[in-house]
Symmetry: C2
């Protein structure tokens, strides 16, 4: 991955939050909307932008689009997210986002919500 594209990806708060979430595993658009409290068009646009940068990729699962990191083990990305998480709330609610993600996954498990099948676990809540 070109360094330039990585940094363009990281130079926006919403995008960093999305990358941070995807680092823990794939997610569909509706969950990203829910966690970020962002409307659908904005999320879609950011995802498209990051897809063009070569940071993420999306795959259709039934009616949902499930996004994932293109290079989940990319050391520079991982390292930067780590530092940003350590920076705490003052910068971005990254750890809080991770908790919300976990809560959503639990809810899905508990309520048997229909969701695309994804590496053993389900993804979507509605």
């Amino acid at each position: 991955m070109e360094f330039k594209k990585l940094y363009k990806g990281l130079s926006d708060g919403h995008r960093v939050r999305i990358l941070n979430l995807l680092e823990d595993g794939p997610l569909c658009v509706c969950h990203l909307m829910e966690i970020l409290s962002l409307d659908q068009v904005k999320v879609s646009k950011q995802l498209r932008y990051m897809k063009e940068l070569g940071l993420v990729d999306g795959e259709r699962q039934a009616q949902w689009m499930v996004y994932r990191l293109l290079e989940p083990e990319h050391p520079l990305l991982a390292r930067n997210l780590e530092c940003l998480r350590e920076a705490g709330e003052a910068e971005l609610p990254l750890v809080e986002d991770q908790k919300k993600r976990a809560a959503i996954l639990e809810r899905i498990e508990r309520d048997q919500d229909p969701c695309p099948d994804l590496e053993g676990a389900t993804c979507c809540a509605r």
Copy 2:
């Protein structure tokens, strides 16, 4: 420093090369021009941009402007530059730039070129 500004700074090849050079110590514009083989206006503009981002600051020393990192110990910046240097020539000639910088400093020492006084050493070659 806001993370956003750091990444905006890093998302351009010339800027990364400048930041990498300044990490080793302050430099004046003419040396940056020489090492990057870039014309004066472009260097000045990138420096201004990074000054607005809060990444660098410039101080006049006689007829020269000497630039330095605003937060030389910033861990995220240091870490990213380190990784980019390790990435090697394919991405950016960062290590080569460092060598050029050292060569210039030697040349100054040897030829007693006039330069702004800076933390003991001199800086400018002309």
